[in-house]
Protein backbone atom coordinates (compact mmCIF):
# COMPACT_ATOMS: atom_id res chain seq x y z
CA UNK A 1 0.00 0.00 0.00
CA UNK A 2 2.96 2.37 0.07
CA UNK A 3 2.08 3.28 -3.52
CA UNK A 4 -1.62 3.76 -2.76
CA UNK A 5 -4.49 2.53 -4.91
CA UNK A 6 -3.84 2.84 -8.59
CA UNK A 7 -5.33 1.53 -11.77
CA UNK A 8 -2.33 1.76 -14.06
CA UNK A 9 1.30 2.78 -14.10
CA UNK A 10 3.38 3.70 -17.15
CA UNK A 11 6.51 5.56 -18.06
CA UNK A 12 5.65 8.54 -20.27
CA UNK A 13 6.66 11.87 -21.70
CA UNK A 14 4.87 14.72 -23.43
CA UNK A 15 4.58 14.46 -27.20
CA UNK A 16 4.94 18.23 -27.62
CA UNK A 17 8.69 19.02 -27.75
CA UNK A 18 8.00 22.66 -26.81
CA UNK A 19 6.80 21.53 -23.40
CA UNK A 20 9.89 19.43 -22.78
CA UNK A 21 12.28 22.38 -23.21
CA UNK A 22 11.59 23.58 -19.68
CA UNK A 23 9.58 20.89 -17.95
CA UNK A 24 11.11 19.18 -14.97
CA UNK A 25 10.82 15.62 -16.22
CA UNK A 26 8.49 14.23 -18.88
CA UNK A 27 6.31 17.34 -18.90
CA UNK A 28 3.37 15.26 -17.74
CA UNK A 29 1.75 17.94 -15.61
CA UNK A 30 1.88 20.69 -18.22
CA UNK A 31 0.88 18.43 -21.11
CA UNK A 32 -2.04 16.86 -19.27
CA UNK A 33 -3.41 20.21 -18.09
CA UNK A 34 -2.96 21.66 -21.58
CA UNK A 35 -4.92 18.75 -23.02
CA UNK A 36 -7.63 19.05 -20.37
CA UNK A 37 -7.89 22.79 -21.00
CA UNK A 38 -8.19 22.37 -24.75
CA UNK A 39 -10.81 19.65 -24.35
CA UNK A 40 -12.87 21.64 -21.84
CA UNK A 41 -12.27 19.03 -19.12
CA UNK A 42 -11.00 21.86 -16.94
CA UNK A 43 -11.58 25.62 -17.14
CA UNK A 44 -8.26 26.39 -15.51
CA UNK A 45 -5.59 24.93 -13.27
CA UNK A 46 -3.89 26.08 -10.10
CA UNK A 47 -0.15 25.81 -10.70
CA UNK A 48 3.06 27.18 -9.20
CA UNK A 49 3.57 30.37 -11.17
CA UNK A 50 6.69 32.51 -11.33
CA UNK A 51 6.93 34.67 -8.25
CA UNK A 52 8.82 37.91 -7.75
CA UNK A 53 12.03 36.22 -6.72
CA UNK A 54 13.88 33.47 -8.61
CA UNK A 55 12.64 29.98 -7.75
CA UNK A 56 10.12 31.40 -5.28
CA UNK A 57 6.80 30.34 -6.83
CA UNK A 58 3.37 31.83 -6.19
CA UNK A 59 0.15 29.94 -6.84
CA UNK A 60 -1.70 31.14 -9.94
CA UNK A 61 -4.90 30.12 -11.66
CA UNK A 62 -3.78 29.38 -15.22
CA UNK A 63 -6.52 29.58 -17.80
CA UNK A 64 -4.32 29.47 -20.91
CA UNK A 65 -1.65 27.12 -22.20
CA UNK A 66 0.81 30.03 -22.15
CA UNK A 67 0.29 30.41 -18.40
CA UNK A 68 0.79 26.67 -17.92
CA UNK A 69 4.05 26.91 -19.86
CA UNK A 70 5.24 29.74 -17.59
CA UNK A 71 4.80 27.49 -14.56
CA UNK A 72 6.80 24.49 -15.80
CA UNK A 73 9.58 23.00 -13.72
CA UNK A 74 10.03 22.15 -10.07
CA UNK A 75 10.71 24.80 -7.46
CA UNK A 76 11.87 23.00 -4.30
CA UNK A 77 10.09 25.30 -1.96
CA UNK A 78 6.64 25.83 -0.57
CA UNK A 79 4.00 27.02 -2.98
CA UNK A 80 0.63 27.07 -1.20
CA UNK A 81 -1.46 26.01 -4.20
CA UNK A 82 -4.47 25.07 -2.09
CA UNK A 83 -4.76 28.69 -0.94
CA UNK A 84 -6.24 29.49 -4.37
CA UNK A 85 -8.79 26.71 -4.46
CA UNK A 86 -11.78 28.76 -3.32
CA UNK A 87 -10.54 31.77 -5.25
CA UNK A 88 -10.58 29.64 -8.41
CA UNK A 89 -14.24 28.72 -8.07
CA UNK A 90 -15.53 31.91 -6.44
CA UNK A 91 -13.49 34.81 -7.87
CA UNK A 92 -12.47 33.23 -11.17
CA UNK A 93 -15.80 31.43 -11.46
CA UNK A 94 -14.30 28.17 -12.69
CA UNK A 95 -16.67 25.20 -12.72
CA UNK A 96 -14.01 22.59 -13.46
CA UNK A 97 -10.78 23.15 -11.61
CA UNK A 98 -7.42 21.50 -12.14
CA UNK A 99 -4.80 21.60 -9.41
CA UNK A 100 -1.25 20.31 -9.13
CA UNK A 101 0.31 19.67 -5.78
CA UNK A 102 2.59 17.68 -3.56
CA UNK A 103 1.01 14.68 -1.82
CA UNK A 104 0.14 16.77 1.26
CA UNK A 105 -1.59 19.33 -0.94
CA UNK A 106 -3.62 16.62 -2.63
CA UNK A 107 -4.56 15.34 0.84
CA UNK A 108 -5.74 18.86 1.64
CA UNK A 109 -7.86 18.87 -1.53
CA UNK A 110 -9.53 15.58 -0.60
CA UNK A 111 -10.21 16.77 2.93
CA UNK A 112 -11.69 19.93 1.43
CA UNK A 113 -14.03 17.74 -0.61
CA UNK A 114 -15.07 15.35 2.15
CA UNK A 115 -15.17 17.87 5.03
CA UNK A 116 -15.71 21.16 3.17
CA UNK A 117 -16.55 23.23 6.26
CA UNK A 118 -14.91 26.38 4.92
CA UNK A 119 -14.83 25.34 1.28
CA UNK A 120 -18.07 26.52 -0.24
CA UNK A 121 -18.35 25.66 -3.96
CA UNK A 122 -15.15 23.63 -3.93
CA UNK A 123 -16.06 19.96 -3.39
CA UNK A 124 -17.97 19.35 -6.61
CA UNK A 125 -15.66 21.37 -8.84
CA UNK A 126 -12.35 19.58 -8.65
CA UNK A 127 -12.05 18.05 -12.10
CA UNK A 128 -8.41 16.99 -12.21
CA UNK A 129 -6.00 16.80 -9.26
CA UNK A 130 -2.47 15.96 -10.39
CA UNK A 131 -0.07 14.92 -7.65
CA UNK A 132 3.71 15.11 -7.89
CA UNK A 133 5.91 12.70 -5.95
CA UNK A 134 7.62 14.33 -3.00
CA UNK A 135 10.24 13.22 -0.50
CA UNK A 136 10.57 16.56 1.31
CA UNK A 137 10.28 20.29 0.78
CA UNK A 138 12.28 23.34 1.88
CA UNK A 139 11.39 26.81 3.12
CA UNK A 140 12.64 29.43 0.65
CA UNK A 141 15.46 30.63 2.89
CA UNK A 142 16.61 27.03 3.23
CA UNK A 143 16.66 26.60 -0.53
CA UNK A 144 18.53 29.86 -0.91
CA UNK A 145 21.18 28.70 1.55
CA UNK A 146 21.54 25.38 -0.26
CA UNK A 147 21.91 27.04 -3.65
CA UNK A 148 23.94 30.13 -2.78
CA UNK A 149 26.07 29.00 0.15
CA UNK A 150 26.49 25.30 -0.48
CA UNK A 151 26.34 25.13 -4.28
CA UNK A 152 27.89 28.55 -4.84
CA UNK A 153 25.33 29.57 -7.44
CA UNK A 154 23.37 32.82 -7.35
CA UNK A 155 19.64 32.19 -7.35
CA UNK A 156 19.15 34.41 -10.39
CA UNK A 157 21.73 32.45 -12.37
CA UNK A 158 20.09 29.08 -11.78
CA UNK A 159 17.89 27.70 -14.52
CA UNK A 160 16.99 24.34 -13.05
CA UNK A 161 17.27 22.40 -9.82
CA UNK A 162 16.89 18.70 -9.42
CA UNK A 163 17.04 16.01 -6.78
CA UNK A 164 18.10 12.54 -7.85
CA UNK A 165 20.66 9.82 -7.38
CA UNK A 166 21.47 11.05 -3.88
CA UNK A 167 22.36 14.57 -5.00
CA UNK A 168 20.88 18.04 -5.10
CA UNK A 169 21.89 19.63 -8.40
CA UNK A 170 21.73 23.20 -9.64
CA UNK A 171 22.09 23.96 -13.35
CA UNK A 172 23.20 27.44 -14.42
CA UNK A 173 22.51 29.56 -17.48
CA UNK A 174 26.00 28.92 -18.79
CA UNK A 175 25.64 25.16 -18.62
CA UNK A 176 27.52 24.52 -15.38
CA UNK A 177 26.23 21.99 -12.86
CA UNK A 178 26.82 22.33 -9.16
CA UNK A 179 26.01 19.39 -6.93
CA UNK A 180 25.97 18.59 -3.24
CA UNK A 181 25.17 15.32 -1.49
CA UNK A 182 21.50 15.21 -0.51
CA UNK A 183 22.62 14.51 3.05
CA UNK A 184 23.72 18.14 3.40
CA UNK A 185 20.23 19.38 2.60
CA UNK A 186 18.34 17.45 5.27
CA UNK A 187 18.68 20.06 7.97
CA UNK A 188 16.95 22.62 5.74
CA UNK A 189 13.80 20.52 5.29
CA UNK A 190 10.60 21.91 6.76
CA UNK A 191 9.56 20.14 9.95
CA UNK A 192 6.04 19.43 8.71
CA UNK A 193 7.48 17.04 6.13
CA UNK A 194 8.76 14.70 8.81
CA UNK A 195 5.29 13.40 9.63
CA UNK A 196 4.31 12.96 6.00
CA UNK A 197 3.19 9.44 5.08
CA UNK A 198 2.64 9.79 1.35
CA UNK A 199 5.36 9.74 -1.30
CA UNK A 200 3.51 9.28 -4.58
CA UNK A 201 0.35 11.35 -4.02
CA UNK A 202 -1.91 8.41 -3.28
CA UNK A 203 -5.06 10.53 -3.38
CA UNK A 204 -4.50 12.27 -6.72
CA UNK A 205 -6.43 11.52 -9.90
CA UNK A 206 -3.12 11.13 -11.70
CA UNK A 207 0.25 11.26 -9.98
CA UNK A 208 3.69 11.61 -11.47
CA UNK A 209 7.38 11.99 -10.70
CA UNK A 210 10.77 11.23 -12.16
CA UNK A 211 11.64 8.30 -9.96
CA UNK A 212 11.41 4.94 -11.70
CA UNK A 213 11.77 6.27 -15.23
CA UNK A 214 14.81 7.17 -17.36
CA UNK A 215 15.97 10.80 -17.59
CA UNK A 216 13.49 12.98 -19.43
CA UNK A 217 10.70 10.52 -18.77
CA UNK A 218 8.19 10.32 -15.92
CA UNK A 219 6.47 7.61 -13.97
CA UNK A 220 2.70 8.09 -14.12
CA UNK A 221 0.02 6.48 -11.95
CA UNK A 222 -3.65 6.75 -12.85
CA UNK A 223 -5.64 6.40 -9.66
CA UNK A 224 -9.30 7.38 -9.98
CA UNK A 225 -11.99 6.89 -12.58
CA UNK A 226 -11.65 10.52 -13.60
CA UNK A 227 -7.88 10.24 -13.81
CA UNK A 228 -8.06 7.04 -15.83
CA UNK A 229 -10.58 8.53 -18.27
CA UNK A 230 -8.69 11.77 -18.85
CA UNK A 231 -5.35 9.99 -19.22
CA UNK A 232 -6.92 7.51 -21.65
CA UNK A 233 -8.32 10.31 -23.80
CA UNK A 234 -4.97 12.11 -23.84
CA UNK A 235 -3.16 8.94 -24.94
CA UNK A 236 -5.77 8.33 -27.63
CA UNK A 237 -5.31 11.89 -28.88
CA UNK A 238 -1.55 11.31 -29.13
CA UNK A 239 -0.50 13.73 -26.39
CA UNK A 240 1.96 11.32 -24.76
CA UNK A 241 4.56 8.73 -25.65
CA UNK A 242 4.40 5.81 -23.25
CA UNK A 243 6.34 2.69 -22.37
CA UNK A 244 5.24 -0.13 -20.08
CA UNK A 245 6.72 0.53 -16.64
CA UNK A 246 8.00 -3.06 -16.56
CA UNK A 247 10.22 -2.30 -19.56
CA UNK A 248 12.06 0.71 -18.13
CA UNK A 249 14.93 0.96 -15.67
CA UNK A 250 15.00 1.41 -12.71
CA UNK A 251 11.24 0.86 -12.74
CA UNK A 252 8.65 0.45 -9.99
CA UNK A 253 11.02 -1.29 -7.61
CA UNK A 254 12.84 1.95 -6.94
CA UNK A 255 9.60 3.85 -6.43
CA UNK A 256 8.46 1.22 -3.95
CA UNK A 257 11.82 1.30 -2.17
CA UNK A 258 11.85 5.08 -1.77
CA UNK A 259 8.19 5.21 -0.74
CA UNK A 260 8.80 2.54 1.88
CA UNK A 261 11.86 4.37 3.20
CA UNK A 262 10.01 7.66 3.50
CA UNK A 263 6.96 6.20 5.19
CA UNK A 264 8.97 4.03 7.58
CA UNK A 265 11.18 6.94 8.63
CA UNK A 266 8.28 9.33 9.14
CA UNK A 267 6.20 6.71 10.91
CA UNK A 268 9.05 6.47 13.39
CA UNK A 269 9.11 10.24 13.79
CA UNK A 270 5.38 10.17 14.50
CA UNK A 271 5.80 7.49 17.12
CA UNK A 272 8.67 9.42 18.66
CA UNK A 273 6.47 12.48 18.93
CA UNK A 274 4.13 10.64 21.29
CA UNK A 275 6.89 10.55 23.92
CA UNK A 276 8.85 13.61 22.82
CA UNK A 277 9.09 15.32 26.19
CA UNK A 278 9.11 13.99 29.71
CA UNK A 279 5.68 12.44 30.19
CA UNK A 280 4.54 14.80 27.43
CA UNK A 281 4.08 14.25 23.75
CA UNK A 282 3.42 16.18 20.59
CA UNK A 283 0.20 16.05 18.63
CA UNK A 284 -0.53 13.35 16.06
CA UNK A 285 -2.71 14.65 13.23
CA UNK A 286 -3.71 11.22 11.96
CA UNK A 287 -5.94 10.15 14.82
Amino acid sequence: MVLGNYKNCVSARAADPAILTASQDGGIVTQLFAFALEEGIIDGAIVAGQGDEPFKPEPVVATTVAELMEARGTRYTICPNVSMIKEATRSYGLDKVGIVGTPCQIQAVRKAQLYPMGMRSVPDKIALAIGIFCMENFPYQGLETMVEDLCNVKMENAVKMDIGKGKFSVYTERGAVSQIPLKLTHKFEQGGCHVCLDYVANLADVSTGSVGSPDGWSTVFTRTKAGETIWGKAIEAGYFETKPIADVKPGLDLVTKLATEKITKNQKTLEGRATFGVDKGLRNPYI
Partner: protein, 328 residues
Protein backbone atom coordinates in the same frame (compact mmCIF):
# COMPACT_ATOMS: atom_id res chain seq x y z
CA UNK B 1 -12.50 4.39 20.21
CA UNK B 2 -14.63 5.52 23.12
CA UNK B 3 -16.37 8.13 21.02
CA UNK B 4 -17.09 5.69 18.26
CA UNK B 5 -18.76 3.20 20.53
CA UNK B 6 -20.64 6.03 22.19
CA UNK B 7 -21.78 7.10 18.75
CA UNK B 8 -22.95 3.63 17.89
CA UNK B 9 -24.65 3.39 21.25
CA UNK B 10 -26.52 6.63 20.66
CA UNK B 11 -27.86 5.43 17.36
CA UNK B 12 -28.60 1.83 18.12
CA UNK B 13 -29.71 2.38 21.68
CA UNK B 14 -27.52 -0.60 22.56
CA UNK B 15 -24.87 -0.80 25.17
CA UNK B 16 -21.90 -2.29 23.36
CA UNK B 17 -21.38 -4.92 26.06
CA UNK B 18 -24.85 -6.43 25.66
CA UNK B 19 -25.31 -7.01 21.97
CA UNK B 20 -27.89 -9.78 22.57
CA UNK B 21 -30.43 -7.22 23.60
CA UNK B 22 -30.38 -5.73 20.17
CA UNK B 23 -32.74 -6.61 17.35
CA UNK B 24 -30.63 -8.55 14.89
CA UNK B 25 -30.44 -6.40 11.77
CA UNK B 26 -29.65 -3.10 13.46
CA UNK B 27 -26.79 -4.42 15.56
CA UNK B 28 -23.47 -2.83 14.84
CA UNK B 29 -20.28 -4.87 15.27
CA UNK B 30 -19.42 -4.25 18.88
CA UNK B 31 -16.02 -3.13 20.02
CA UNK B 32 -14.53 -5.07 22.90
CA UNK B 33 -14.15 -1.96 25.02
CA UNK B 34 -16.91 -0.53 27.15
CA UNK B 35 -18.11 2.89 26.01
CA UNK B 36 -16.58 5.87 27.69
CA UNK B 37 -18.99 8.59 28.67
CA UNK B 38 -18.83 11.67 26.52
CA UNK B 39 -17.31 14.43 28.57
CA UNK B 40 -16.42 17.95 27.64
CA UNK B 41 -12.85 18.61 28.67
CA UNK B 42 -12.18 22.07 29.93
CA UNK B 43 -8.58 22.05 28.81
CA UNK B 44 -6.82 21.28 25.57
CA UNK B 45 -6.57 17.55 25.00
CA UNK B 46 -3.22 16.08 25.75
CA UNK B 47 -1.19 14.61 22.93
CA UNK B 48 -2.55 11.32 21.84
CA UNK B 49 -0.43 8.24 21.26
CA UNK B 50 0.71 7.57 17.73
CA UNK B 51 -1.49 5.24 15.78
CA UNK B 52 -0.67 3.64 12.49
CA UNK B 53 -2.69 5.38 9.81
CA UNK B 54 -4.69 3.31 7.40
CA UNK B 55 -2.44 4.49 4.62
CA UNK B 56 0.32 2.03 5.16
CA UNK B 57 -1.77 -1.03 5.64
CA UNK B 58 -4.55 -2.62 3.68
CA UNK B 59 -7.74 -1.80 5.43
CA UNK B 60 -11.14 -3.24 4.83
CA UNK B 61 -13.35 -1.01 2.81
CA UNK B 62 -16.96 -0.78 3.77
CA UNK B 63 -18.93 -1.24 0.57
CA UNK B 64 -21.27 1.60 -0.09
CA UNK B 65 -24.34 0.26 -1.77
CA UNK B 66 -26.53 3.18 -2.55
CA UNK B 67 -30.10 2.93 -1.65
CA UNK B 68 -32.14 4.53 -4.39
CA UNK B 69 -35.74 4.43 -3.20
CA UNK B 70 -36.56 4.37 0.45
CA UNK B 71 -39.89 4.45 2.17
CA UNK B 72 -40.82 7.72 3.78
CA UNK B 73 -41.24 5.97 7.13
CA UNK B 74 -37.49 5.47 7.28
CA UNK B 75 -36.62 9.13 7.33
CA UNK B 76 -34.77 10.64 10.24
CA UNK B 77 -35.99 13.78 11.99
CA UNK B 78 -33.86 16.87 11.97
CA UNK B 79 -34.54 20.12 13.77
CA UNK B 80 -32.95 23.50 13.32
CA UNK B 81 -32.61 25.19 16.68
CA UNK B 82 -32.02 28.90 16.35
CA UNK B 83 -29.99 30.54 19.09
CA UNK B 84 -28.13 33.82 18.60
CA UNK B 85 -26.91 33.55 15.06
CA UNK B 86 -27.43 35.42 11.83
CA UNK B 87 -29.40 32.64 10.05
CA UNK B 88 -26.48 32.29 7.66
CA UNK B 89 -26.07 28.64 8.61
CA UNK B 90 -29.71 27.96 7.75
CA UNK B 91 -29.31 29.84 4.48
CA UNK B 92 -26.29 27.65 3.76
CA UNK B 93 -28.42 24.54 4.29
CA UNK B 94 -31.09 25.98 2.01
CA UNK B 95 -28.42 26.82 -0.55
CA UNK B 96 -28.38 23.18 -1.54
CA UNK B 97 -31.45 24.11 -3.63
CA UNK B 98 -32.81 20.91 -5.20
CA UNK B 99 -30.38 19.09 -2.96
CA UNK B 100 -32.35 20.36 0.02
CA UNK B 101 -35.56 18.93 -1.45
CA UNK B 102 -33.81 15.63 -2.11
CA UNK B 103 -32.71 15.59 1.51
CA UNK B 104 -36.20 16.40 2.74
CA UNK B 105 -37.93 14.03 0.30
CA UNK B 106 -35.78 11.02 0.93
CA UNK B 107 -33.84 11.25 4.13
CA UNK B 108 -35.00 13.69 6.71
CA UNK B 109 -38.10 15.40 8.01
CA UNK B 110 -37.41 18.91 9.18
CA UNK B 111 -39.63 18.69 12.25
CA UNK B 112 -38.53 21.90 13.90
CA UNK B 113 -37.30 25.12 12.36
CA UNK B 114 -38.69 28.47 13.45
CA UNK B 115 -37.87 30.02 10.09
CA UNK B 116 -39.32 27.32 7.83
CA UNK B 117 -41.71 25.12 9.82
CA UNK B 118 -44.72 26.05 11.91
CA UNK B 119 -43.80 24.31 15.17
CA UNK B 120 -43.30 26.35 18.34
CA UNK B 121 -42.01 23.90 20.93
CA UNK B 122 -38.87 21.88 20.51
CA UNK B 123 -40.02 18.32 19.78
CA UNK B 124 -38.14 15.02 20.05
CA UNK B 125 -35.77 14.64 17.15
CA UNK B 126 -32.90 12.50 15.95
CA UNK B 127 -30.58 15.34 15.07
CA UNK B 128 -30.63 18.92 16.33
CA UNK B 129 -28.71 21.34 14.18
CA UNK B 130 -28.07 24.21 16.54
CA UNK B 131 -27.19 27.55 15.02
CA UNK B 132 -25.92 30.42 17.12
CA UNK B 133 -24.56 30.91 20.62
CA UNK B 134 -26.63 31.16 23.79
CA UNK B 135 -27.47 34.58 25.23
CA UNK B 136 -27.21 34.23 28.99
CA UNK B 137 -29.32 37.37 29.46
CA UNK B 138 -32.23 35.74 27.65
CA UNK B 139 -33.80 32.96 29.71
CA UNK B 140 -35.71 31.63 26.68
CA UNK B 141 -32.44 30.83 24.95
CA UNK B 142 -31.08 29.06 28.00
CA UNK B 143 -34.26 26.99 28.36
CA UNK B 144 -34.33 26.18 24.66
CA UNK B 145 -30.79 24.89 24.49
CA UNK B 146 -31.41 22.64 27.48
CA UNK B 147 -34.61 21.39 25.90
CA UNK B 148 -32.80 20.73 22.65
CA UNK B 149 -30.24 18.61 24.48
CA UNK B 150 -32.99 16.71 26.24
CA UNK B 151 -35.01 16.07 23.10
CA UNK B 152 -32.33 15.37 20.53
CA UNK B 153 -30.36 12.17 20.19
CA UNK B 154 -27.51 13.99 18.53
CA UNK B 155 -26.70 17.65 18.96
CA UNK B 156 -24.71 19.23 16.18
CA UNK B 157 -23.13 22.63 16.73
CA UNK B 158 -23.85 24.04 13.29
CA UNK B 159 -21.41 26.81 12.54
CA UNK B 160 -18.87 28.95 14.33
CA UNK B 161 -21.26 30.68 16.77
CA UNK B 162 -22.71 27.48 18.21
CA UNK B 163 -19.31 25.80 18.33
CA UNK B 164 -17.01 28.61 19.40
CA UNK B 165 -19.00 31.78 19.98
CA UNK B 166 -17.51 33.22 16.80
CA UNK B 167 -18.56 36.80 16.09
CA UNK B 168 -20.92 36.87 19.09
CA UNK B 169 -17.83 36.77 21.34
CA UNK B 170 -17.37 40.40 20.36
CA UNK B 171 -20.82 41.52 21.51
CA UNK B 172 -20.96 44.45 23.96
CA UNK B 173 -24.72 44.72 24.27
CA UNK B 174 -26.58 47.89 23.45
CA UNK B 175 -28.90 46.64 20.71
CA UNK B 176 -32.00 48.84 20.47
CA UNK B 177 -34.68 46.49 21.66
CA UNK B 178 -32.65 44.40 24.11
CA UNK B 179 -29.72 46.56 25.26
CA UNK B 180 -28.97 44.24 28.18
CA UNK B 181 -28.10 41.32 25.89
CA UNK B 182 -24.35 41.15 26.12
CA UNK B 183 -23.17 37.72 27.27
CA UNK B 184 -23.04 34.99 24.65
CA UNK B 185 -21.54 31.54 25.11
CA UNK B 186 -21.04 28.65 22.70
CA UNK B 187 -23.59 25.92 23.34
CA UNK B 188 -20.84 23.63 24.62
CA UNK B 189 -20.57 25.85 27.69
CA UNK B 190 -24.05 24.75 28.75
CA UNK B 191 -24.68 21.32 27.25
CA UNK B 192 -22.75 18.36 25.92
CA UNK B 193 -22.38 18.60 22.17
CA UNK B 194 -21.87 15.52 20.01
CA UNK B 195 -20.71 16.88 16.67
CA UNK B 196 -19.05 20.14 15.61
CA UNK B 197 -19.46 21.52 12.13
CA UNK B 198 -17.52 24.79 12.16
CA UNK B 199 -17.64 27.44 9.47
CA UNK B 200 -19.06 30.91 9.08
CA UNK B 201 -21.21 29.54 7.67
CA UNK B 202 -20.36 25.86 7.19
CA UNK B 203 -20.56 25.28 3.45
CA UNK B 204 -23.73 23.88 1.98
CA UNK B 205 -21.76 20.84 0.87
CA UNK B 206 -20.50 20.21 4.41
CA UNK B 207 -24.04 20.32 5.79
CA UNK B 208 -25.21 18.03 2.99
CA UNK B 209 -22.43 15.53 3.72
CA UNK B 210 -23.16 15.46 7.43
CA UNK B 211 -26.92 15.09 6.80
CA UNK B 212 -26.34 12.15 4.47
CA UNK B 213 -23.91 10.57 6.94
CA UNK B 214 -26.37 11.04 9.81
CA UNK B 215 -28.98 9.27 7.72
CA UNK B 216 -26.63 6.38 6.87
CA UNK B 217 -25.69 6.06 10.52
CA UNK B 218 -29.31 5.77 11.58
CA UNK B 219 -30.86 3.88 8.72
CA UNK B 220 -28.03 2.37 6.72
CA UNK B 221 -26.69 -1.15 6.50
CA UNK B 222 -24.05 -2.22 8.98
CA UNK B 223 -21.29 -1.21 6.60
CA UNK B 224 -22.86 2.14 5.95
CA UNK B 225 -23.16 2.69 9.68
CA UNK B 226 -19.52 1.89 10.12
CA UNK B 227 -18.50 4.27 7.38
CA UNK B 228 -20.72 7.05 8.71
CA UNK B 229 -19.38 6.59 12.22
CA UNK B 230 -15.82 6.79 10.93
CA UNK B 231 -16.72 9.89 8.92
CA UNK B 232 -18.30 11.65 11.90
CA UNK B 233 -15.62 10.73 14.42
CA UNK B 234 -13.25 13.67 13.79
CA UNK B 235 -16.19 16.06 14.06
CA UNK B 236 -17.04 14.45 17.40
CA UNK B 237 -13.43 14.81 18.47
CA UNK B 238 -13.61 18.51 17.58
CA UNK B 239 -16.59 18.80 19.91
CA UNK B 240 -14.42 17.37 22.69
CA UNK B 241 -11.49 19.63 21.94
CA UNK B 242 -12.93 22.74 23.50
CA UNK B 243 -15.21 25.72 23.03
CA UNK B 244 -12.60 28.30 22.10
CA UNK B 245 -11.24 28.88 18.63
CA UNK B 246 -9.05 31.44 16.97
CA UNK B 247 -6.65 31.72 14.08
CA UNK B 248 -4.07 31.29 16.84
CA UNK B 249 -4.96 27.59 16.86
CA UNK B 250 -2.91 27.31 13.68
CA UNK B 251 0.06 28.74 15.53
CA UNK B 252 -0.37 26.78 18.72
CA UNK B 253 -1.52 23.41 17.45
CA UNK B 254 -0.06 23.24 13.94
CA UNK B 255 2.95 25.49 13.35
CA UNK B 256 4.37 25.37 16.89
CA UNK B 257 3.83 21.61 16.86
CA UNK B 258 6.01 21.33 13.76
CA UNK B 259 3.14 20.00 11.69
CA UNK B 260 2.50 22.78 9.15
CA UNK B 261 3.69 22.00 5.62
CA UNK B 262 2.47 25.17 3.94
CA UNK B 263 -0.40 23.86 1.82
CA UNK B 264 -2.40 27.09 2.17
CA UNK B 265 -5.74 25.41 2.93
CA UNK B 266 -6.29 27.68 5.93
CA UNK B 267 -5.93 30.75 3.71
CA UNK B 268 -8.69 29.51 1.42
CA UNK B 269 -10.95 28.51 4.31
CA UNK B 270 -10.89 31.77 6.27
CA UNK B 271 -14.17 33.64 5.64
CA UNK B 272 -12.66 37.06 6.41
CA UNK B 273 -9.34 36.65 4.58
CA UNK B 274 -7.41 37.13 7.80
CA UNK B 275 -4.69 34.68 6.75
CA UNK B 276 -1.75 35.19 4.42
CA UNK B 277 1.30 33.03 3.87
CA UNK B 278 4.60 34.38 5.20
CA UNK B 279 7.77 32.27 4.98
CA UNK B 280 5.61 29.40 3.77
CA UNK B 281 3.45 29.38 6.88
CA UNK B 282 0.15 31.08 7.68
CA UNK B 283 0.20 34.45 9.34
CA UNK B 284 -2.99 35.59 11.04
CA UNK B 285 -4.12 39.19 11.08
CA UNK B 286 -5.45 38.79 14.59
CA UNK B 287 -7.61 41.90 14.63
CA UNK B 288 -9.52 40.55 11.66
CA UNK B 289 -10.06 37.07 13.05
CA UNK B 290 -13.67 36.47 14.10
CA UNK B 291 -12.84 33.23 15.94
CA UNK B 292 -14.88 30.92 13.74
CA UNK B 293 -12.47 28.01 14.04
CA UNK B 294 -12.71 26.87 10.45
CA UNK B 295 -9.05 27.38 9.54
CA UNK B 296 -7.96 24.84 12.10
CA UNK B 297 -10.78 22.42 11.34
CA UNK B 298 -10.03 22.56 7.60
CA UNK B 299 -6.25 22.17 8.00
CA UNK B 300 -5.14 18.70 6.91
CA UNK B 301 -2.82 18.66 9.90
CA UNK B 302 -5.58 19.21 12.47
CA UNK B 303 -7.14 15.86 11.64
CA UNK B 304 -6.58 13.55 8.74
CA UNK B 305 -8.30 10.18 9.05
CA UNK B 306 -6.81 7.87 6.45
CA UNK B 307 -9.54 5.26 6.91
CA UNK B 308 -12.06 7.74 5.50
CA UNK B 309 -9.85 9.83 3.21
CA UNK B 310 -8.53 6.80 1.34
CA UNK B 311 -12.12 6.17 0.27
CA UNK B 312 -12.73 9.69 -0.96
CA UNK B 313 -13.77 8.55 -4.41
CA UNK B 314 -16.33 5.99 -3.23
CA UNK B 315 -17.71 8.36 -0.60
CA UNK B 316 -18.02 11.18 -3.13
CA UNK B 317 -19.88 8.87 -5.48
CA UNK B 318 -22.15 7.65 -2.70
CA UNK B 319 -23.05 11.19 -1.69
CA UNK B 320 -23.71 12.13 -5.30
CA UNK B 321 -25.90 9.08 -5.74
CA UNK B 322 -27.76 9.83 -2.53
CA UNK B 323 -28.41 13.34 -3.78
CA UNK B 324 -29.57 12.12 -7.19
CA UNK B 325 -26.39 13.50 -8.77
CA UNK B 326 -26.67 17.10 -9.98
CA UNK B 327 -27.37 18.93 -6.76
CA UNK B 328 -25.46 22.00 -7.82
Amino acid sequence: MGLLSRLKEIFTGNKPEEPEAAPGPTTVPEPAKAPEPVTVPDARPEAKPAVKPGDVKVEKKPEIEETEEKPVAEKITIGHVHMSGCTGCLVSLADNYEGLFTLLDNYADLNYCLTLADVRDIPKMDVALVEGSVCLNDHHSVEDIKKARENATVVVALGGCAAYGNITRFCRGGQWNQPQHESYVPIGDLINVDVYLPGCPPSKEAIRNVAVMAYLLLRGSDEQKELAAAYLKPLMDLAQRGVEACGCDLMVDVINQSLCMGCGTCVAACPVRAITMEYGKPNIERDMCIKCGVCYAQCPRSFFNFDVMNQFEAIGEAINAAMGKGDE
